[in-house]
Symmetry: C3
Subunit: 356 residues, 3 copies
Amino acid sequence: MNAAANQSPGPITLGELAVRFGCTLQGDPSQRVSQVGTIEGADSTAVTFLANPRYRRHLATTRAGAVVLDPSLAAECTVPALLTRNPYATYARIAAYLHPQPLHEGGIHAAAVVDVSAVIDPQAWVGPLAVIEAGVRIGARTTIGPGCVVMRDVQVGADTRLVASVTLCHGVRVGERTLIHPGVVIGADGFGLAPDRGIWVKVPQIGSVEIGSDVEIGANTTIDRGAIENTVIGDGVKLDNQIQIGHNVRIGAHTVIAGCTGISGSTTIGQRCIIAGQVGIAGHLTLCDDVIITGKSLVSASIHRPGSYSGAVSIDETIKFRKNAARFNQLDSLARTVRKLSNAAEKSASDESGEV
Amino acid sequence: MNAAANQSPGPITLGELAVRFGCTLQGDPSQRVSQVGTIEGADSTAVTFLANPRYRRHLATTRAGAVVLDPSLAAECTVPALLTRNPYATYARIAAYLHPQPLHEGGIHAAAVVDVSAVIDPQAWVGPLAVIEAGVRIGARTTIGPGCVVMRDVQVGADTRLVASVTLCHGVRVGERTLIHPGVVIGADGFGLAPDRGIWVKVPQIGSVEIGSDVEIGANTTIDRGAIENTVIGDGVKLDNQIQIGHNVRIGAHTVIAGCTGISGSTTIGQRCIIAGQVGIAGHLTLCDDVIITGKSLVSASIHRPGSYSGAVSIDETIKFRKNAARFNQLDSLARTVRKLSNAAEKSASDESGEV
Amino acid sequence: MNAAANQSPGPITLGELAVRFGCTLQGDPSQRVSQVGTIEGADSTAVTFLANPRYRRHLATTRAGAVVLDPSLAAECTVPALLTRNPYATYARIAAYLHPQPLHEGGIHAAAVVDVSAVIDPQAWVGPLAVIEAGVRIGARTTIGPGCVVMRDVQVGADTRLVASVTLCHGVRVGERTLIHPGVVIGADGFGLAPDRGIWVKVPQIGSVEIGSDVEIGANTTIDRGAIENTVIGDGVKLDNQIQIGHNVRIGAHTVIAGCTGISGSTTIGQRCIIAGQVGIAGHLTLCDDVIITGKSLVSASIHRPGSYSGAVSIDETIKFRKNAARFNQLDSLARTVRKLSNAAEKSASDESGEV
């Protein structure tokens, strides 16, 4: 479509990169690069990085134009190096600079359906076959991609991007510089049901969802609206794909959550937590700041102390696993037997030693 | 859009609420409320409720206009109370009354694409950028929200709501008063594959899906069409977000299933079951009525007795968990050692006692 | 819509079926069938099959027009039989023949939005309210269903079908004869984040996704684009619904993966693997060819030997399960106690026997 601005800067000298990103350059400052590459695949036009010491051996053989590198490894690098204490974050910034997102000029595509009462910043872009309902407000330079549905009274801040096929239900609020991937649904009803003589009565979901700024939300993730008050996703939170966030969940700033994790209603997650994939967190819990949960764990009680928590055993050969799993179902009785044996052995030892 | 009917009733007296919802009123019947609120956040214009005894202490301090409450707690309530044996269900009905869904007038949006052979009730609403293919029938007062795709020969009953961005594949049937949230896909092919000399031959999925009445289906949930016969979701079933229902699954009436649960093909679930989140149920099983499965459990055999079943251990500190998990892989050998010790101890005891 | 070609062949003789699908016919070659059915439900117009010996008893009572059957069971079949060594695969092919997908005539629906620079084969069909961005190429006889979004520079091969509501992000490539179900998102950004002084810096996702030929991708599955190089799904791979594939994952040809499984970034899966539902596979691993992983397992280390691997215990009654789960958290200490007892018993035995 009418992608225009934010084009790649073209070949840039290593000297300029070093200045722009605060690195010390080891090598020829006039050499030019124009893209990024892997340490094994990069040619002389590409910048790469080394963050994981496991790949250190590639320093001897890489043909990259430059490697973003911790200063301690400078001597091992046979090509130019951009030295910095945080090579991965610096690489990320260089990559964003060399490979910018194409930006759309502001405007509303002729095949979008926009209610007359919506207020769309002139610098915002609304793509083809997007729907913008009544009372919506869209901020400057925000893009609403093709096929998105933005329902009544939604507010989206500036510089936010709904890539495509995103659905924001009525009244949802999204901050600035937030990136929302296709298939995301924000603000569907929370799962509120009251049992009443054998049937389930729907509890109306009156609250909404507030998404902060600098948030990223992965493809097909769902975030439910609150029952009475709002579901709240803090600034800088990063959510991977296919995450399910129940109603009235609150997620603190700069927490990251990997794919397929589910968080039940009314649970509060602290700031700077790292939650791995396929984790399940029960409802009405509180996790304090700086908690790490490893993959596939079940969290069924609140966590009040920062640290790393785990709950899933890993695979074994099926034939061995099944034997051990069968024993799992006898664990309590096994433990009782051991206690009895242990008590008997202690008694026998004390009898022998004449103790009372 | 043209939302018109079903507006909020405005402020209503507690006396009228008590009569309408069958409560005993404790307090001034002429006092008025207009919305719902949390027990901590409600002001005098809001009704709240107390269902969980954990929050009982808030009865002393709430400033709500009224609390929907069990009669046994009436004495502790310092503000007006609407007394009823099922406060949560009564609250749910009051909330629905005070906060009705805005209803659309019937009609087809100019930017919808509707096949001439489709039969849309004049009281139904088809939103912008919805697609209605050939042979579809849509019942009275049903709304097909923006961005929905309703493929050929689908039938949707009266008073059903497809919120937005829902996809119903060809031939699917949906009952009345059913609510389907964004991103739901009903009637995609089941996962049927026949191995044949190193490749997989697709088994055509000829069946369809039948969704009952009074069903709710959460965002991004998927329900596959049957291989030959239909997949069937019973009346009053409530499905949370991101649930996966395989082909030819049958779910009995009034069963509820929480988010991220997966049910493999040809499994039958009884009525009034409660299945928590991230549960996995293998294929070709039968679960009887009134089964409860707690979160993240794996069900790999049929269940013939009502009751509660569990299968997931909860987290521990990673360092402790890993030690215990390592022992899990030695459980069978540990149990054998214990049996040997136990046998030896018994033998030794019987030797000592002179038994044969 | 304008579905025209590929209509059902109508009633066909068993003789013709036997010739066309390489079966030996037991029965009257002039009898006709026109559809498929279950072994219990089929009438004389329907072909059914018996693949699972569990259903063998139905051979005596089925009223099907014919049963696709292993020759070893021919004598037990009371109706005509189509005998073949692989009844399920043969049934699959017969079902596809009797129940063909309705095909669309080529053309672009008036309500599709197609960029002028896109190259759409004249035999391809683009449905209503589909978006085709700049630089896209669509092959012959491929159908892009209603509501699909195909972003800039995507390439889709011939005879591929995007059913409806599929989103392909920029630059994604899809092979031939591939079937993609509604809600699928291919090419959203991978989850790449670099920590930097308490915040997360987005790592641009420059790579793309390559989907092979003869692939099937289930509803609401997500496949992320690579960080630098591409995510790759091999030929003949079959993915069920709601699977999450992280960036730079590579899946070998003819591997099948069941619903709700998640694969973290940079993991390589071999060929002909069978991965069940709700499995979680950590990042940066390698699984060799011909690996089987049973349902709900966690894979946290590479697998270098073909075979079957498991990692999830199944349910028990909640009251029993909780007792055993509590013991799980004491397993290491239990094992130490057993070792002590075992050592003491050995010592005592050797003392008694006079061994040193």
